[in-house]
């Protein structure tokens, strides 16, 4: 059994959150560069893409958050079952890390009561997803999730008969309905299978993959490619100004489901993909 202090968890969450707020993932940066090249020079879409790429440089140089929506703090934790965490309860350590990062990093506090709308003041609680795994390591992934795009996400309970065509249709339709609102070009996370709740988590987990990566299963990768092609044929373009690149990527995660169902969750991420991981 390995002993890990809760301070190490808090420290890691704080570090990942601070880093995530200030930079796009490398894969996202490359995808935006390709997107700008794909658009007609002088078009409004090219102007938007040039501006967001310039923004990434300003954020790095001035150490300012790339986007003012520093997000709802989503933490995915894979915890080896041979680890014993000593000190604070795990969720408390995560929330303390988030609280510190958002205060010290001058990040916006964007979490509030759903009814009174009173802000919690420190961007907690984080959405913490834990998974017990083999071994004695802890892997933490921090995904600050903006809500302009989260708001455009949808969940479908398709019938088994709708199959792959139904899945692709659901994904493309979600992006079409979102239009200019989620800050396209978007990154689309898709959950396929599982249960109602599990499917939504798969979609979120898909967004932790690098933009442009392909699922190892060929049939799943084919869905990613078909959906991406059809989304980019919509012509929504960067910021909805019209153009060739409406999505930077589509990533699907799958899980076995019930014989009676085919859940499909579509989680939209804006072009500002921020995600950091560490292993303890």
């Amino acid at each position: 059994m390995r002993i890990l202090s809760s301070d190490a968890i808090e420290e890691a969450v704080c570090r990942l959150a601070k880093r995530a707020g200030l930079r796009l993932t490398d894969a996202c940066g490359r995808a935006l560069e390709e997107a700008e090249r794909a658009e007609e020079s002088g078009s409004a879409a090219a102007f938007a893409l040039r501006t967001v790429r310039e923004n990434a440089r300003v954020a790095a140089a001035e150490r300012m958050p790339v986007c003012q929506d520093t997000g709802y703090a989503v933490v995915l934790a894979e915890i080896g079952q041979d680890v014993h965490i000593e000190g604070k309860p795990f969720a408390e350590a995560v929330n303390d890390g988030v609280r510190r990062a958002y205060a010290e990093g001058n990040f916006r506090k964007s979490v509030c009561d759903p009814l009174t709308r009173v802000n919690t003041g420190d961007n907690t609680p984080a959405a913490v997803h834990t998974e017990l795994t083999a071994g004695d390591r802890v892997r933490l992934t921090f995904l600050p999730k903006g809500f302009g795009s989260e708001n455009m996400s949808r969940l479908f309970m398709l019938t088994p008969a709708e199959g792959v065509d139904g899945i692709v249709k659901a994904v493309v339709e979600t992006v079409r309905l979102a239009g200019s609102k989620p800050c396209p070009p978007v990154y689309v996370g898709v959950g396929i299978g599982g249960t109602f709740d599990g499917c939504a988590f798969l979609a979120k987990k898909a967004l932790t993959r690098p933009v442009g990566s392909r699922h190892p299963r060929a049939d799943v990768a084919a869905i990613e490619e078909e959906a991406l092609r059809k989304i980019n044929a919509l012509g929504i373009g960067a910021q909805g100004f019209g153009g060739r690149v409406t999505a930077l990527g589509v990533s699907c995660e799958v899980a076995p489901t019930h014989i009676a169902g085919l859940p499909v969750a579509v989680n939209i991420q804006c072009h500002c993909c921020r995600c950091e991981s560490a292993e303890l």
Binding site: D69, G179, G243
Partner: protein, 179 residues
């Protein structure tokens, strides 16, 4: 790129066409979900607003806290559609400009034409760049709303695209599907 001074003059509003890129400089008032709700509740009760709306331009935004030595933290636009149910009423009270991101409802577009106003799209996700272009920031109303409070910004060269003009032009209504 065309440079536009704020507050907007009528002849300037007249000259703007959907699709053109502009640089905005001057005064912006911020306001997003909670501030809009509160403004409209005050109007319902017949109360005087803590700031005049006439001739002003509202920026749909909620900034990050200012780091040392800066007037404001990162501050890009938020999704304008959530303010659609409030916007026509504010336009009728003399609001002349809105800065946000994403498409507007038919009712807002109609009110923009009728009230001779304009809607600019700032580039969503460019928060650092916009925050850096804010020279002065002053809290105007609703401090309890934190980042959602109303601030008065002095901005310099805010890159935007004219999204909905007063002549019925709308960048989001252009044909989308590509071959």
């Amino acid at each position: 790129m065309k440079k536009i001074d704020l507050p907007l003059r009528d002849d300037v509003i007249d000259s703007l066409r959907a699709g053109e890129s502009v640089l905005l400089s001057g005064t912006l008032l911020t306001g997003r979900d909670c501030a809009h709700k509160r403004i409209c509740e005050m109007l319902d009760r017949g109360e005087k607003l803590p700031f005049p709306l006439e001739g002003q331009t509202i920026y749909y935004a909620g900034p990050c806290p200012a780091p040392a030595g800066k007037a404001c933290g990162s501050c890009g636009p938020t999704t304008s559609a959530r303010m659609d149910s409030f916007a026509p009423r504010l336009l009728e009270l003399g609001l002349k400009g809105m800065v946000g991101k994403g498409e507007r409802s038919a009712a807002v577009c109609e009110a923009i034409a009728r009230c001779h106003a304009v809607y600019f799209a700032a580039i969503g996700g460019a928060g650092a760049l916009y925050g850096n272009a804010i020279r002065k920031s002053e809290l105007v109303a609703f401090p309890d709303l934190l980042s959602e409070a109303v601030y008065r910004f002095e901005v310099e060269n805010f890159p935007c695209v004219v999204a909905v003009d007063c002549h019925g032009g709308n960048i989001y209504a252009a044909p989308k599907r590509q071959g």
